[in-house]
Symmetry: C2
Subunit: 81 residues, 2 copies
């Protein structure tokens, strides 16, 4: 069982890194990009034989308490069975 | 239209950052985590009115040529219409 955790800056927080990438892409003549936001991605491999519901709760807890800074970031989780 | 690009270190490349997170989670008593790998996540917002096939090709080109270091990284792309 694998868990994918995506952490991004909140919409209201300026993403200077993403803006820099978007401007670079424009300068490099790549077409059609209106905006870029950069975030972090974590792939968690879970131990075998875990209860799916409990595992999902634990992953959400890890994402909320460890992987995300709740002041400026938000996260989403996808579990892959 | 949005494009999600996920960049991770290749399986064969040591992910020291991911290992450090996995060890920290164990020390912090979070249960059930066998392995952690960290990567990057890019959310590209595409301009309106693009041809979906051409847009997907362009995003793949950007991911391959700009966002990924092909020596040590690999990427996957998900387009959201």
């Amino acid at each position: 069982m694998k868990a994918h955790v995506y952490v991004t800056l909140k919409r209201t927080v300026l993403d200077a890194q993403g803006q820099t990438i978007a401007e670079a892409l424009k300068r490099m003549q790549y077409a059609g990009i209106a905006d870029v936001r950069q975030g972090k991605y974590f792939l968690l491999t879970l131990e075998d034989g875990l209860d799916p519901v409990a595992a999902e709760a634990e992953v959400n807890r890890i994402a909320r308490e460890v992987l995300t800074n709740p002041v400026i970031e938000e996260f989403s989780v996808r579990i892959e069975f």
